[in-house]
Amino acid sequence: MNAETSRPLLDVRDLRVTTSNGHPILHDVSFDVEAGSIVALVGESGSGKTVAARAAMRLLPKAITPVSGKILFEGNDVLKMTGSEIRKVRGAEIGMVFQEPMVSLNPAMTIGAQLVEGLRLHEKLSVEAARARASEMLERVKIPNPEACLAAFPHQFSGGMRQRIMLASVMLLRPKLLIADEPTTALDTLTQREVMEVMVDLTRTFGTSVLLITHNLGLVAQYAKKVFVLERGRLIESGPVEEVLHRPKEQYTRTLIDALPKRDHGRVPPAEAAPLIEARGVEVTFSGAGNMFSTAEKKLAVRGVSLGVRPGEVVAVVGGSGSGKTTLGRAMLGLLPLSGGDILFRGRPMASADRAAARDYRLQCQLVFQDPYSSLDPRQKIAEIVGEPLIHGPKLSGREKAERVSDILGEVGLAGLGDRYPHALSGGQRQRVAIARAVIRNPAFVVADEPVSALDMTIQKQVLDLFRKLQENHGFACLFISHDLGAVSRVADRIVVMQQGLIVEEGSVGQILDHPQHPYTQALLEATPTLGLAA
């Protein structure tokens, strides 16, 4: 770094932002991004980090307004620019990549049309020249066959590819600053790494500065130079990454660092026993979208998987998106028709089970969903949601039911919140509700389908700890599905790695994490963010 005191590219000074009814969101926050560097803005959801970044492009919703402070971009105050001035800055000077690649591309336009649109808006180019530039940029973000990609629609690409296309469309204009708002939160570990690598590579080539907004300190450690930590709208700590992460001054920063996955050796694996539930050569086929006139293309999502879970054992199924891990979980709960193989519950094959056995199996097995926002009925109160499973199973009086509900709510740390509606709870609290609903009937087997991947790192840790505590108290067997080897190492006894519908490796947590055999497992491990610092 040179000692020259050149002015930073983006310089935010004492920015105070409030909602229209005076509720403060940011309290005099200052941060700066130097030309050519990667700077991270870190905090949990609700800390105001997205608001701070959006203010820099004046993309705040109407109800939120900056009341004082300056946002200097190359010395000009963004807050004082006129409409046409700010439009010249947006896109051309400051680009932005959003969190949700699934919704940030227009589904009704081809990729080519969307890329060319932005380019021709800011630069006078013929359509052909613009297309050539677009195709070249797609190649840079490692999209195979860029020409074909230009003619394709967004739904034909995976999340990681869409995020790279999004990146290409932003970088086409060679902005001086790229704001990346949680660019990889919605992606699995491997794809996350791909996208980050491409982004860092590309911005380095073009000399673009990056303002990386994230809750994941692993990413910060790996890629950023400088970090600003926000807590509830206040800047509480800032400095070079090595310093902040290794010698944090504030308690809050320490909490964030502690939330990073660490190995735990506390679990005693359950005794050898006959498996409680067992998948034998399970195959699941999805028929694609067919209609009356064409036969649908069939896709094997799970291709002959055998897996047993012993009573009280936690087995983690790990793999990238599309590896069939979620499908396997649903199949083991009997929620999907099998096209081959069978599920054995307490040694009895379920394909030929009588009604009573099938009912017992259904009631003994529960599921925790990935997305706590859509898995709770918005019209039910928390106590109703948690108590609903009690309708089935042994008859209870109203008082006994209410007691059970308040017991379990207390156990998951939601005591007294029973008469709220789901929308009044945070993501982490909602996931606790979903977990309470799954365990209230003391099930023998629980499938947890990515239960923490929609949550912040700090919340992830709390929910994982809760899950582990409940598992120890209630002793249910569990299939824990995740793309994140870090999260898994906290709760699992055994890890199964899946790729393209097949189990490629399985073993104890120690074996998999310390001596991975299969190249896919090794790649997954390598992509898991830890506190190892950027070179």
Binding site: S374, E388, H392
Partner: protein, 271 residues
């Protein structure tokens, strides 16, 4: 935009007024609504006849009050019929998909292909002009639109994870459908029901206008309106009175509908 409480207040005030008028008419009206008094025909509003008299010298206020009873019963029963039939079929179609869905949709599309009033007209010819004929005819004519709306919201609601969660808990398909899918489709149903109330009052007026509604001398707002047409220049109060009543009812029901929809949705509570 009218604010929430005002919505509820104005809406219910209007409906209480109209409903009170109808209730009162069951026991008392200023004059016998069917009493013909030719000497007092086409009198303008006065202290004796508050809203004047019609071409047979019948008191407009009395007829309006009795007409309110007729119009309200027809509208309420028709909406109830169309909503019930439409919701049940829509729920079944949207939730089960497949063959049942296709058959129900073919029927509803066929019915939708006719203009509602024309279809009701055809059905009225079969049933003959009486109150229950109108209810049945309009109910059948309007239920396909309910089916469409309900099916569409069921289609989106059934894909939500809480529906699968309900199955995992051990709820039957039937329980899932009524406990988790239907309650999340109520907002569009309430909105549709309130606007349909308006359509029905109008359609009933239209049918009466064509002479196929509730047969005279029983007064309804519709046949009062149609009878007033001839005297629109000589006696404008004849048309204005039922017209204003219809408008007030529609306004009241729409305001109340909006307020109720927001009230029933827990997510709207804090706004």
């Amino acid at each position: 935009m009218i604010r929430q409480p005002a919505n509820l207040l104005i809406g219910s005030a209007l409906l209480i007024f109209i409903g009170g008028m109808a209730l009162l008419a069951l026991f008392w009206t200023p004059y016998e609504p069917a009493a013909i008094k030719l000497v007092a025909k086409l009198k303008p509003p006065s202290a004796q006849f508050w809203l004047g008299t019609d071409e047979f010298g019948r008191d407009v206020v009395s007829r309006l009050m009795t007409g309110a009873v007729q119009s309200m019963t027809v509208a309420i029963l028709t909406v109830a019929f169309a909503i019930t039939v439409g919701t049940i079929t829509g729920l079944i179609a949207g939730y089960t998909r497949g063959l049942v869905d296709r058959i129900l949709m073919v029927f509803s599309d066929a019915l939708l292909a006719f203009p509602g009033t024309l279809l009701a007209l055809g059905l009225m010819v079969i049933s003959g002009p009486n109150k229950y004929g109108i209810i049945l005819a309009l109910g059948i004519a309007y239920s396909p639109s309910v089916l469409r709306v309900v099916r569409a919201s069921v289609l989106s609601a059934r894909e939500r994870e809480y529906v699968e969660a309900s199955r995992v808990i051990g709820n039957s398909e039937f329980a899932t459908m009524f406990r988790h899918v239907l309650p999340n489709c109520t907002a569009p149903i309430v909105v549709l029901a309130t606007s349909m109330f308006g359509w029905v009052v109008l359609a009933e007026s239209g049918l009466s206008f064509l002479g196929l509604g509730v047969p005279p001398p029983a007064p309804t707002w519709g046949n009062m309106l149609s009878a007033a047409r001839t005297y629109i220049e000589k006696a404008p109060w004849l048309g204005l009175a039922p017209g204003i009543c219809i408008s007030m009812t529609l306004l009241g029901i729409n305001l109340l509908g909006d307020a109720l929809r927001d009230r029933f949705d827990p997510r709207m509570e804090q706004r």
